[in-house]
């Protein structure tokens, strides 16, 4: 829900730097394109459509009340001579176009942008904190944080000294290309840097939304099930890198790393893995070398 006006619009979001309040933030964005009034008497939905999953079956929504089936019929009849428009448009076209614009912008400025996706709590922010602390003398880092609520993650990043903005998505369960476009402008990312984009902790929704990133990184921790990849296949399919975190906990949990990797590779045979512990630093050097190699 939007903290400014309490409108509850699911596509309103805010972009803030640490210390900034929403009230004086010019980038607080609302897209009030759809009304969501709930007048119970207005629509009765008829859910009588079939759910058999044969190849080309059609599903129909009849938004008219059952009692008005007659009108429905008339309505159809009256308009059967209307115009048909061949649209053939990708439903995600708007996001994809902005994502491509972001990609062009990042490429032109030689910004290596990474979209980090995972379940809540797998260690995305911890990974960024440690990476920035360890490499900041060699690499200039910028961070876009995505969470439904709070400035917590942005404040943690700010403490490392890297410039950061926080996107709060409210009800939204993923970042989209438009949010990243606005956030990157607000951050004023300089040339030849690394831009980390920490997505909202969610293994499903962010998978469909290209942000214009150079690479997508999915993180799982060994406290999650090793079958995560096959439970959330779309995310693993759309990622380039898989970081397995919290390997310091392997002695205490039943997590079979080889099995997890095998599952992930079944879905995406191009995935590249890093096994790390952000806590102990084990395995971090491989990740750093990869980052430094791709950065230039």
């Amino acid at each position: 829900m939007c903290e400014t006006c309490g409108c509850g619009e699911s596509n309103s979001f805010s972009i803030r730097k640490p210390g900034e309040t929403i009230e004086n933030n010019p980038d607080h964005t609302h897209t009030h394109s759809h009304s969501h009034s709930h007048d119970g008497s207005e629509h009765t939905h008829n859910h009588s459509h079939s759910h058999t999953h044969d190849n080309n079956h059609e599903r129909h929504h009849h938004l008219e009340d059952n009692d008005h089936a007659h009108h429905h019929h008339d309505y159809q009849h009256n308009h059967s001579h209307g115009t048909e428009i061949k649209v053939e448009t990708d439903i995600l076209q708007k996001n994809n176009l902005i994502a491509e614009r972001n990609r062009g912008f990042f490429e032109a400025k030689n910004i290596f942008s990474l979209n980090l996706v995972s379940s809540p709590g797998s260690g995305k922010t911890s990974l960024l904190e440690k990476t920035i602390k360890d490499l900041k003398s060699d690499v200039s880092f910028y961070v876009i944080e995505g969470d439904q609520q709070t400035m917590n993650d942005a404040n943690r990043i700010e403490a490392t000294g890297a410039p950061v903005v926080q996107i709060n998505t409210g009800n939204g369960c993923h970042l989209d290309a438009e949010m990243v476009n606005k956030a990157a402008k607000k951050l004023d990312v300089e040339n030849n840097s690394v831009l980390f984009i920490e997505n909202v902790g969610n293994l499903i929704c962010p998978s469909l939304f290209d942000l214009g990133e150079s690479k997508r990184i999915v993180i799982i921790s060994v406290t999650e099930g090793e079958d995560k990849p096959i439970k959330y296949p779309t995310m693993f399919q759309s990622s380039d890198i898989c970081i397995i975190n919290k390997i310091d906990l392997l002695p205490y949990v039943d997590f079979n790393i080889e099995k997890a990797k095998e599952y992930a590779l079944r879905i995406n045979h191009n995935l590249q893995f890093f096994e790390v512990s952000v806590k102990t630093g084990e395995g971090m050097n491989d990740w750093y070398n990869w980052l430094k190699k791709h950065k230039c």
Binding site: S35, R59, G82, L208
Partner: protein, 113 residues
Amino acid sequence: MHELSIAMNIVDIADEETKKANAKKVYEIELEIGTMSGVVLEALEFALQEAVKDSVLGNAKIKITEIQAKAKCLNCLNIFEIEDLYSPCPNCNEFKTEIISGKELIVKSLKVE
């Protein structure tokens, strides 16, 4: 619930096309959704009920055609229908496969007046 974003995009596309055609409203919209598109059909249908309210799609009949996902085996080039993203080629058991259809999320056509 990314299905709500998807539903709102559908409404936006319908809105734009309807304006372009100088039409007032849509009485039928046809969508194509791949079985491996990452969109759950039931959730999309539910989200659409909300998203179409007070829009050009308010009274439109929504036709959804599911596109069966198919993959091609990179070993034996066999083409087969898939129900998930992690099963091997039924012909040679190879896991290295490539999706060739089933990722569609498309507004196919509108009938407007």
